[in-house]
């Protein structure tokens, strides 16, 4: 269990409890302490053509605390989105990320907002990680103008230019060449930043991945390709779709690393390692072994191609939030009650955001024609009836 591994960390002396009994709340390490802690990852890294990073991860109490809070926010947000979808306030496609939060959070902890992230359609939590607000998420999901893309993108099109989050793409695999383009631009402008291009185990069989990998390796682009392997490509298990499901090895000449994607500290360590490596040696593949509790999207129950036992088994043993909770309790950074309070607060924040988003208006019909072109072309565009809705493209 987590306790035994933590006890073997090098800061074992810090775990000795103080002798004073006057305080009612015995806090060894306060939750906003930035004193470094070293915690070991639960599983070793498996590497391909590179040296694996060490298992001991540097973190701090405040960081762990923020992990818990952010992951709880993401989890709550996705569950709320589930209910909103069933209440028909969110339509179309809604791909939920619950279970995979550790990947988004761990990645953010290892990089800066100047590094670029691009992902596919399971992007709600990545958007939050990059600085998006709950209001923007719910607004966009419900198609209101307060949404991140003014309601014109939807669930699959979240972007945040100021923090270098490049979306949000609906077509499987199409974001991979875009990600290489971002890395190309970083190399072109000689910035010391990297691009994390996320894709899934389903997209790992796309040709454009290998084309982009070839180019990135050819020109030493600082691109890190992260395969979020949740073991199911839509409704098909990975072993039925890929001859070689060891995605971290499929880069062949590109080094790869397999990471336990449910362990936020392992993700953080891997991303930190990847960033250092990519800036020196070119592209790298990270395979995050993760799991999604929901189906592929809201129209998929998620139980026809896997058993409920499997899902609940993963939830019991590998849930990322539970892992951090145990760490926080074991290191005495927070008490049970405090964590429960956080969860309550998160629930309230999410409910407030939903209520606010519900009050937000739908976009005006004139918004149909904005942002088609950048510059005004004076082009006329019509709605279906060619009479009522008729505008000059601004």
């Amino acid at each position: 269990m987590a306790l035994s591994r933590i006890a073997s960390s090098s800061h074992a002396s810090n775990l000795l409890k103080p002798l004073s009994t006057a305080l009612s709340i015995r806090r060894l390490i306060s939750s906003d302490s930035t004193v470094p802690l070293t915690i070991e990852t639960s599983l070793p890294f498996i590497s391909h053509k590179c040296d694996a990073p060490p298992r001991a991860v540097d973190t701090s109490a405040s960081e762990l605390f923020s992990f818990f809070r952010d992951m709880a926010t993401m989890r709550r947000m996705e569950i709320a989105a589930d209910s909103l979808y069933k209440a028909k306030l969110i339509r179309g496609f809604c791909h939920l990320y619950d279970g995979q939060e550790a990947v988004a959070i761990g990645m953010e902890a290892a990089i800066t907002k100047k590094d670029a992230i691009i992902t596919a359609y399971r992007d709600h939590c990545t958007f939050i990680g990059r600085g998006g607000t709950l209001l923007e998420v719910f607004g966009e999901l419900m198609g209101r103008i307060c949404g991140g893309s003014k309601g014109k993108g939807g669930s699959m099109h979240f972007y945040r230019k100021q923090t270098n989050f490049f979306g949000g793409h609906g077509i499987v695999g199409a974001q991979i060449p875009l990600g290489c383009g971002l890395a190309f631009a970083q190399r072109y402008s000689k910035e010391e930043n990297v691009t994390f291009t996320l894709y899934g185990d389903g997209a790992a069989n796309q040709g454009q991945l290998f084309e982009a990998l070839n180019m990135a390796a050819l020109w030493d682009l600082p691109a890190i390709l992260v395969c979020e392997n949740n073991h199911y490509g839509m409704g098909t298990a990975e072993w039925r779709a890929a001859k070689n499901p060891a995605y971290y090895k499929r880069g062949d000449y590109v080094p790869g690393l397999k990471v336990d994607g449910m362990d936020v500290l392992a993700v953080k360590q891997a991303c930190k390692f990847a960033k250092e490596n990519a800036l020196k040696n070119g592209p790298l593949i990270l395979e995050m072994d993760t799991y999604r509790y929901h189906g592929h999207s809201m129209s998929d129950p998620g139980s026809t191609y896997r058993t409920r036992d499997e899902i609940s088994g993963v939830r019991q043993e590998r849930d990322p939030i539970e892992r951090v909770r145990k760490l926080l309790l074991a290191h005495d950074i927070a008490s049970e009650k405090e964590l429960k309070d956080i969860e309550k607060q998160v629930r309230k924040d999410v409910d407030d955001a939903i209520a606010k988003a519900k009050e937000c208006p739908m976009p005006d019909p004139s918004e149909l024609f904005t942002n088609v072109y950048v510059k005004g072309l004076g082009v006329e565009s019509f709605g279906a009836d060619r009479k009522e809705v008729r505008a000059t493209l601004p």
Partner: protein, 403 residues
Amino acid sequence: MATLFQGVGAVTPFSASSSLDSNKLLLPSRKSLSISDSRGSIFVYRSDALNLKAATRKQDLLIPNAVATKGETSTSAKSGHELLLFEALHEGLEEEMERDPRVCVMGEDVGHYGGSYKVTKGLAEKYGDLRVLDTPIAENSFTGMGIGAAMTGLRPIVEGMNMGFLLLAFNQISNNCGMLHYTSGGQFTIPIVIRGPGGVGRQLGAEHSQRLESYFQSIPGIQMVACSTPYNAKGLMKAAIRSENPVILFEHVLLYNLKERIPDEEYVLSLEEAEMVRPGEHITILTYSRMRYHVMQAAKTLVNKGYDPEVIDIRSLKPFDLYTIGCSVKKTHRVLIVEECMRTGGIGASLTAAITENFHDYLDAPIVCLSSQDVPTPYAGTLEEWTVVQPAQIVSAVEQLCQ
């Protein structure tokens, strides 16, 4: 006030050799004819009936002269420099790369090889391998890469060795290039230029003779332009690079060796404007790219037969310059569209719909659209000739329309 005088059509015959002097193909601006049509009245017009006002409408700091007959005036005959169309593209590209360090080129064989049509010759030596990037043969991903780079603010120019290969990149062009500005709520602009030669060449075979204008025209958010002379090739190339919208620049395989004299001073053309090639009174002929030359050849025959066609090179395939076209339709009341695109769903089909919708009352006759046959381009030379519109067909179509 009517002035009657006999026009002298002193033009040299059209030669199908590889090096053409496009100046000789243009009819002199000062000419007019008097003919009587079926209604018995005499048609005359004053010379130099040029739409200069329309052309200058949208230009602010650009040399606005979109009229191709500018090269005829004797005062400017010796100024400027003569070059071939691919050299004009090269010049435009180089000037833009010099001006803005964010402009970069990527494509197959553009760097060390110098470009398969020599448009990027010498640029890799001058600007380095990263700025003039030789890509592997992976259209989908290098177009995607260009779009990703454009999202960050770079201004890439993606060259397809042949337009037909860009079909492999259709997903990237449609979803990511065209729609990203919209789906991101205006956060990202994609100032990319996608260019390449297309069209029917000399027995290149079906897969290498495709006209992609028709496939790309419905993609919302992109602009499409087709160049036809060295003058407009350079101007459109520069305008496309400076534009914040994604632009697809269609060149033609057979037009790369056209020679023309272009001005020394810098000029940028407007992407959304059509070019008045030959003003006229009887019929409006709308065309673009290589068909412009077939139309001008037919125009010679027509002039000798007594017709007065107005020829407009539409240049902007998306959006159409309905202003210039509309002014012309209101004047002549008859429209003939001559294009190299396929019959079904081509540019001509959209243009017919657009003109009918907007200018229906001004039309005296149904719009006739001459396009290529709906067949894959055959290899045999004689068959290939029959897939595209030939001048003789244009002449007979005009005669039929003007009855």
